[in-house]
């Protein structure tokens, strides 16, 4: 069986056709312009992940932009948001510093994307 996918790895947005076996296991893909598309297709058909960006409050009440250090399972996005909603970050954090070490049990850290002092 086949499945159509739009690659989200880069702004090019390649339209791919993915071939799956009878157990919906990834076999191959075409339409991707680069190898990263291929690994995206495989991951998307196996265990889809997404990057998450949001904000957390700092201790002084500022709003610090944050992101997941790497993509997390798609199904965990809203769990992660629940943790992010009540998280509190020190005002000393810089870009890349960890805000939450293990976002919603995914093992992925939530990191600052700006220096809190510059806000």
């Amino acid at each position: 069986m086949t499945r159509n996918l739009t690659c989200i790895v880069c702004p090019r947005g390649c339209e791919m056709t993915v071939l799956l076996d009878e157990n919906k296991k990834f076999l191959s893909a075409e339409g991707n312009a680069c190898p990263r598309g291929l690994s995206y297709a495989e991951s998307e058909c196996t265990a889809p992940v997404r990057s998450l960006a949001s904000t957390v409050l700092t201790e002084s009440g500022k709003l610090l932009p944050v992101k997941s250090a790497s993509p997390i399972p798609k199904g965990k996005l809203f769990d992660a948001m629940r943790e992010i909603r009540v998280a509190l970050a020190p005002d000393t954090l810089c870009v890349g510093d960890v805000v939450l070490a293990d976002l919603a049990g995914t093992g992925v850290a939530l990191v600052a994307t700006a220096n809190a002092a510059d806000l």
Binding site: T55, V56, L57, L63, I84, R85, V86, A87
Partner: protein, 479 residues
């Protein structure tokens, strides 16, 4: 007991409050909305009509011509921009021309100065922007433009400086005659006054009925407008009307005192007196007519569209009377109501005097109010002097209109105080430019919240349930 209570804080009630505040009287002004200038005053053509439209001998004609003569001085006293740009009524046919001749004759009888019928050639010298099919026009050099809500806000501010009291969110629900005056109810709030003056716009018939006067009705005539970007403000110099019909003066094309171009209004009688929505057909008809009258109006330059309601009285004339002792109607003030408003104020003051109200000039009371727009008209040196004393005047909040934080804070702190985004907009022009508040409204919300001492999410667009944000995204109190 207050001496005089005025119902309705529009331009008519406002200028009347200011007039009466000059005398030894206690004056209260009540308004059903959360700000002043919220009815017909908020959205109309912003024109000071020369006075050739109204039927000779009518109150409209008398007060239009007189008001038009008074307006320049009134605007100057109140620090409100006024521009005598002249107006023309364009005709497209011989039939129109005959109609214009009638208007001319009527204008002459009404005492309007300088009227003339111009052929296309002469007209082009006055207004090069006229449409290609225009053949003739009635030219009224005394026609002018003024901002109606600016006028009302400043007049009410002036009245308050003179001691008048403003009660907003005060919809009058009941009026009771009491010994020596009236008791006016709004929910839990009650005010007593010796004299009550009904300036309630489209609701004036309801107010009159509260004291048993059912001699007239007021209906709402909706007018839809489009406001164009300032880059279109130079398309025409004069206010360009078309030959009128019985539904009104038709669509006009006019520069505004702030440099935009205003197109409209439509004229549609409606049942719901709060219905200020625009319609696709209405806006299309505005654009169509405007383009016949004036050429070179660029497409796609509308920055906002809106509708206003004119308070049209059932008698065909302004209804200014006293149906019972101590109660006055100032009703049916449709066009040329704005033009007439300064004259209405003195006319009503004269009525009170005739009816035995003592009008003794109050020491220290003034007709003059410092302009809210002073900063923007200053020289560089003057601006820098202000900035040295208060650096917030160097902080631009609204990029499109160049409005500074200092001006916004001053407006928030000056009577009548705005309590929402639209209130700040009407006073300062912040959010009124081409991006319509896209960039600055969050900052204005912040300034309002800080100045009023309320949470960010408590600030509204225009009072009531017009909330802007529903709550915080983060923290313990996040939704």
């Amino acid at each position: 007991m207050t001496d005089v209570l005025i119902i309705g804080a529009g331009v008519v009630g406002g200028l009347l409050a200011r007039e009466l505040s000059l005398y030894e009287l206690s004056v209260a002004l009540v308004e059903k909305e959360d700000d002043v200038a919220m009815g017909a005053t908020r959205a109309n053509s912003a024109i000071v009509h020369a006075g050739f439209d109204a039927k000779e001998g009518s109150l409209k004609a008398l007060l239009n011509v007189k008001g038009s003569e008074m307006m320049e001085q009134t605007a100057k006293e109140l620090g409100v921009p006024y521009k005598r740009n002249g107006s023309i009524v364009v005709g497209f046919s011989e039939e129109d021309r005959a109609h214009l001749e009638e208007l001319l004759a009527r204008g002459v009888k009404n005492g309007v100065k300088g009227l003339a019928i111009l052929d296309r050639e002469e007209l082009l010298k006055v207004e090069p922007g006229i449409g290609d099919t225009v053949t003739c026009a009635l030219y009224a050099p005394t026609g002018a433009i003024v901002c109606p809500y600016d006028l009302a806000i400043s007049a009410i501010g002036c009245a308050m400086d003179n001691g008048a009291e403003l009660y907003v969110d005060f919809p009058v629900e009941r009026i009771e005659a009491i010994d020596g005056g009236y008791r006016v109810y709004s929910g839990e709030r009650v005010l007593e006054a010796r004299t009550v003056i009904n300036c309630a716009g489209v609701y004036a018939d309801k107010i009159a009925a509260m004291v048993g006067d059912e001699s007239f009705t007021v209906f709402a005539r909706r007018g839809e407008y489009m406001l164009l970007d300032k880059e279109c403000g130079g398309v025409c110099r004069t206010t360009v009307f078309r030959t009128p019909t019985k539904m009104g003066k038709g669509i006009l094309v006019s520069p505004t005192v702030d440099g935009n171009l205003l197109l409209g209004p439509t004229a549609e009688n409606i049942d719901d007196k709060g219905d200020t929505k625009t319609t696709p057909a209405g806006l299309a008809s505005v654009a169509r007519s405007a383009n016949e009258q004036v050429k070179g109006i660029p497409g796609g330059k509308s920055i906002t569209s809106f509708a206003g309601l004119r308070a049209v009285g059932s008698t065909g004339d302004f209804i200014i009377n006293s149906p019972r002792a101590g109660f006055y109607n100032v009703a049916g003030i449709e066009s040329p109501g704005l033009s007439a408003s300064p004259a209405i104020a003195t006319y009503v003051a004269d009525m009170l005097r005739r009816d035995g109200v003592t009008l003794t000039p109050k020491a220290g009371a003034t007709r003059v109010r410092e302009s809210m727009h002073a900063f923007r008209h200053m020289t560089v040196e003057q601006k820098n002097e202000v900035i040295r004393r208060d650096p917030s005047y160097a902080k631009i909040v609204c990029r499109c209109e160049g409005v500074t934080e200092g001006e916004i804070l001053a407006a928030i702190r000056t009577n009548p105080r705005p309590r929402d985004l639209d209130g700040v907009k009407r006073r300062t022009r912040a959010q009124m430019g081409r991006c319509q508040g896209g960039f600055c409204s969050p900052t204005v919300v912040e300034l309002l919240a800080r100045e009023m001492g309320v949470p960010f999410e408590a600030v509204t667009k225009s009072g009531g349930g017009s909330y802007i944000n529903v709550g915080r995204t983060k923290g313990a109190d996040a939704q």
